[in-house]
Symmetry: C2
Subunit: 296 residues, 2 copies
């Protein structure tokens, strides 16, 4: 291990064997008021996530779902910020929707989302990344376990885990159609991954992640401690989860599509710098470098 690595508490892909380190940073960064109740904040602090039931009403969800379908149908799979399935040309993700000048841009500054992010992160916030994830009925593919923050730190230069994802459910997310799976309380620990990061692997990694992947033994350890929970809820609900929470999702053999919009909020005091993995930056659709503060 190079000597300078040891000064970064979140160094990763630097070790020959996985290890689980403590997280030196807090989970709740402020004590301000906001849309989340004290009980919801306690749940978030302890488990690393919270599901808020039906934050968006039926009419709003209908409009968002229609906009998502339009974005999918208009998406060009040849573009870097459009991700197709490995085994087909079906669109899996459309990135950077918070810059669409329309519905998702309005969504990204909605106080139900950004207000909760400010409350948890204890500062003003900006959108670090956004995307729509489509998991179609019958052939929706799984997504393996990972900590977002590990990747964002090593590959994008996010200094600390002072960021969160808000997943707005566009369809009912039930146990059976491939909802978000989380390892509760895993956000309080940091799993160092093994090995190095090849250059420009991001396109592949968004389909089949092969680097920055926690070792299976680490996942066994985390699940022994915390078990597994699902982020289920009816359409219009929102799952807020910590950037360092270990999560993934299963496939979808049901006829019921599972589509969500993700807005990732980062603290303005945590703007990205150069990647800690000493690699070239990834593209901006994965890591915004323009800090456009969401107005309160």
């Amino acid at each position: 291990m190079a000597p300078e690595m040891t000064t970064d508490p979140y160094h990763s892909r630097t070790v020959d064997r996985w290890e689980i380190a403590p997280r030196p940073d807090p989970v709740l960064w402020g004590e301000g008021a906001g849309p989340l109740s004290p009980e919801q904040l306690v749940h978030y602090a302890e488990k690393g996530f919270v599901v808020c039931w039906r934050l968006f009403d039926e009419e709003e969800v209908g409009a968002l779902a229609a906009a998502a379908a339009k974005a999918r149908d208009a998406a060009d799979p040849a573009r870097d910020d459009v991700i197709a399935e490995a085994s087909s040309s079906a669109i899996r993700s459309v990135f950077r929707v918070h810059r669409d000048g329309e519905m998702f841009e309005r969504l990204s500054v909605d106080s139900r989302l950004a207000g909760a992010a400010r409350q948890i992160l204890g500062s003003d916030v900006y959108v670090h990344q956004s995307r729509i994830n489509f998991k179609p009925g019958f052939d929706g593919r799984p997504f393996p376990w990972h900590s977002d923050f590990e990747t964002w730190h090593i590959e994008d230069g996010m200094p600390r885990p002072r960021a969160l994802s808000a997943s707005v459910l566009l369809t009912d997310n039930i146990e059976q159609n491939g909802p978000l799976l989380v390892i509760p309380s895993s956000h309080r620990l940091y799993v160092r991954c093994v090995g190095e990061t090849p250059e420009n692997h991001f396109k592949e990694s968004l389909v089949n992640q092969a680097y920055g992947v926690p070792t299976r033994a680490a996942l066994v350890d985390l699940v022994d401690r915390g078990g597994i929970m699902s982020g289920t809820g009816p359409a219009g609900s929102v799952v807020f989860f910590d950037s360092n929470l270990m999560h993934g999702s299963g496939g979808n053999i049901t006829p019921l599509p599972r589509n969500n919009v993700f807005l990732v909020y980062n603290s303005v005091d945590n703007a990205v710098v150069e990647p800690f993995g000493k690699r070239p930056r990834r593209p901006e659709f994965l890591a915004e470098r323009r800090v456009d503060v969401v107005p309160t």
Copy 2:
């Protein structure tokens, strides 16, 4: 459609377009006493399945799980009655374990299973098929939707849906590790599949089923009517389900393996004849032709 087809209420793979037909036969064939409570029988009749919590205690499950691991490790993937994953040599199923002369043979005549089968089927019973299904942690594969009875009728010659599966959970089956998924009440309807049955496709079909597969539109219709439920429970629990219940299971990305033993009980008054699909018989490990009545 050939004229003689119309005399079989369960004809299938005979039509150009899927259709959903009523089931002319009952679900509960008797009114005798047995291990299932009246409430459990009502649930079974209405939904097509029932989960009985911890019918086997920890010690029994431990012994069964050890015997299952031994059977898996001793299994020869080159044998027809041993099924490996399509993408690897991992053992997915070991068939005909009720003839092992040991633990699974004893299990197959256990009154907790065979007694419930007699109660539901209203007669003496015998074992039509048995198998251990292994769905390992991290890479357990999904199994697509199907009705067992459709296959058993067309390919094996089972006259009527007077049979059931008892799935003994060898590990905890939780929502997240690929439990049995069912479409409640779908057992009261019969989905005719499209197309013909090629000869000798059984080896392939046990890994990736391609014939006797319900059309997606039929599954959408059934789920619209009945929704989706999971057959979850702690190790030692048993899921009893009707031979015509539409079911499948998702993959398993969790570290927690999901292993179950299936015993299929058929009424002695419903012994298999020649396949209704006018094809050669499949091997006996898939459809017992020796009616060894389970002693009461």
